[in-house]
């Protein structure tokens, strides 16, 4: 009987020991997994910090630059050339180009007055419309960038709308021969540029290019005479 009791006690002890061992093993396993989880969380936070640092460096390193005049000139192949006897041939002087906004390097790309003026000069020159003299020009062109609607960074596609007013005045009698508001839009996708700031710049340039192209098309369809007598 005594032996039986001892055997039973030994069995219970062994069982308890086993349970304790298995429990501690489980505990260790849990601790290990918690440790692994903790490490992975800290790694994740480190990863987030790294991404933020890279983004900050990206922002600081790649400052916003203004639109490039050369990229805002419409392609010459788009329009038929002006005939030599056209009233507008070598007859337009740019008297004013305004409404633009200077680009703040810390903010987004814009189109400034200087860039707009240079773009118009290049565009008119390309079609043989630019006058060699600003004083003796038969027509004066005033261009005003009313609005450049830019995205606020809510999407991947950058859609920019430009609203421009063109006013063409005949110098001889100060008669306005053309006065209109032209709106044009341009979409720049991730395929055009991966970097958002560059994508926006491309959209700005594309929108202005489309706007000037529309103006030149309107101008081509007009029948303008050199002087009021003609």
């Amino acid at each position: 009987m005594k032996n039986f009791v001892r055997l039973a006690e030994e069995k219970i002890d062994r069982y308890k020991k086993n349970r304790l061992i298995s429990f501690s093993k489980k505990k260790n396993r849990n601790n290990k997994s918690e440790k692994v989880r903790r490490i992975s969380l800290s790694q994740f936070l480190l990863f987030v910090r790294l991404i933020l640092m890279i983004a900050m460096l990206g922002v600081l390193g790649a400052c916003a630059t203004p639109a490039r005049p050369g990229h805002m000139v419409p392609e010459s192949a788009l329009f038929p050339s002006y005939s030599p006897d056209s009233a507008l041939r070598n007859a337009i002087a740019i008297s004013k180009a305004g409404g633009g906004e200077k680009t703040n390097p810390l903010l987004v790309s814009k189109v400034g007055d200087k860039e707009l003026h240079e773009t118009l000069r290049l565009s008119l020159s390309q079609y043989g419309l630019l006058s060699t003299s600003d004083v003796d020009a038969l027509f004066r062109l005033e261009v005003f960038l009313i609005e450049l609607k830019q995205p606020r960074g809510e999407g991947l596609t950058a859609i920019v709308d430009s609203v421009m007013r063109y006013k063409l005045t005949r110098s001889g009698d100060d008669q306005v021969v053309y006065d209109d508001i032209i709106t044009a839009s341009y979409k720049a996708t991730v395929g055009d540029a991966l970097y958002g700031a560059h994508r926006l710049k491309l959209a700005n340039e594309g929108s202005i290019r489309a706007n000037i192209a529309a103006f030149l098309q309107h101008l081509h369809s007009l029948n303008i005479s050199k002087s009021p007598i003609q």
Partner: protein, 176 residues
């Protein structure tokens, strides 16, 4: 055994808390989304964002001398007629601000513009609420453009001239 059950209870409570948090955040996002889009744009100045881009509302520029341009951008819930009215009301206010009484409209235009917006869903990921973009949609927004000339103070005005006070009286009630 009791230790294990306690752990289970703790884990379950934690999961419940996370689920509650997630549901709360989703409800908040939905409410914010609805509040932000439901109302059409009112008579308000377009505020500039930190990035330098403009929000919804009116903005104006002096072209030269007495000529001004006014642009009104409305949110997708705003009609073209409403943005045109806001532009007209702004023209009237601008006239008064410049010490004049009458103005003429030189050019006017209303357009529908597009804005690409990301479609994103909130996901509970590793104990954090992460907003994951799943696509892109295009919102259509109305835009009104107005070019005006302020008339100098004179005893009689041309028939196409608009009286700023009359315009304000007609439009301010339902726009401001």
């Amino acid at each position: 055994m009791p230790m294990r059950s306690l752990r289970e209870v703790f884990m379950a409570e934690r999961a419940m808390g996370a689920t509650k948090g997630l549901i709360g955040c989703m409800i908040m996002l939905i409410i914010l989304g609805l509040v932000g889009c439901a109302r059409p744009t009112g008579y308000t100045k377009a505020s500039s964002f930190l990035t330098g881009t403009k929000g919804y509302g009116y903005s104006d520029k002096r072209i030269n001398g007495d000529e001004f341009s006014i642009v009104v951008l409305g949110n997708p819930s705003t009609s073209k007629a409403r943005v045109a009215e806001i532009a007209l009301l702004r023209a009237a206010h601008l006239t008064k601000e410049e010490g004049r009484t009458h103005f003429v409209i030189i050019k006017q235009k209303t357009e529908t513009t597009e804005r690409a917006v990301l479609i994103s869903i909130p996901l509970w990921f590793g104990g954090l609420l992460v907003v994951v973009p799943v696509g892109e949609k295009t919102n259509r927004e109305p835009m009104a453009i107005l070019v005006i000339r302020l008339l100098p103070l004179q005893p009689a005005y041309p028939p196409d001239a608009l009286n700023a006070d009359e315009v304000i009286e007609h439009l301010a009630k339902h726009l401001e």
